[in-house]
Assembly symmetry: C2
Homo-oligomer: 103 residues x 2
């Protein structure tokens, strides 16, 4: 699987509803917050320590990706993820910062 097989909505089509729904979940919001701190780079999806089943993890990645919050790609045997920080900031200025900074 390469990144071309994964659905990534274009930046100009990102919708705030699915973005907010994706961010409403505590686990997904934690992943976004951790990626936000290192958005210059990518992180191995498997490296996130979430207290959920493997199938739930897979679903969380899909929700994040389809909402347009993250970009995923395969390198070797690993699936990597990065926050689409520039796309998000351009379309929803201040939103991600406000969410990840929330108490």
């Amino acid at each position: 699987m390469d990144s071309g097989e994964l659905e990534h909505p274009p930046a100009e089509e990102l919708q705030v509803g699915p973005i907010l729904l994706a961010l409403a979940d505590d686990n997904r919001r934690r992943v976004v917050a951790e990626l936000y701190e290192r958005s210059d780079g990518e992180r191995l999806c498997a490296s996130f320590d979430l207290p959920v089943s493997k199938s739930s993890r897979t679903r969380h990645w899909r929700v994040l990706r389809e909402a347009g919050l993250v970009h995923q790609r395969s390198i070797g045997n690993g699936l990597y993820m990065r926050l689409r920080k520039d796309d998000l900031e351009s379309r929803f200025p201040g939103l991600i910062q406000a969410v990840v900074g929330a108490p």
Copy 2:
């Protein structure tokens, strides 16, 4: 019914998860956006023109109120609603502005 009978979480207990979940819905987000424009005052709940049933409207008001986005009170026979703008801005700086300004 006076406002004392309606549950309004205190400002210091507002949680971002329920706030985002409440805002993820298009109708509720529209209500918040309209209140944001006139947050100096209140608006009659019945004055919002939502394309949903009466029971759905009632549920939307409850979700908004329990998340801490709005304050509701009865005056005479009418139920009024205002955005808790100061509480929200104090606890989640920039969040509501980013959401209501989203395309």
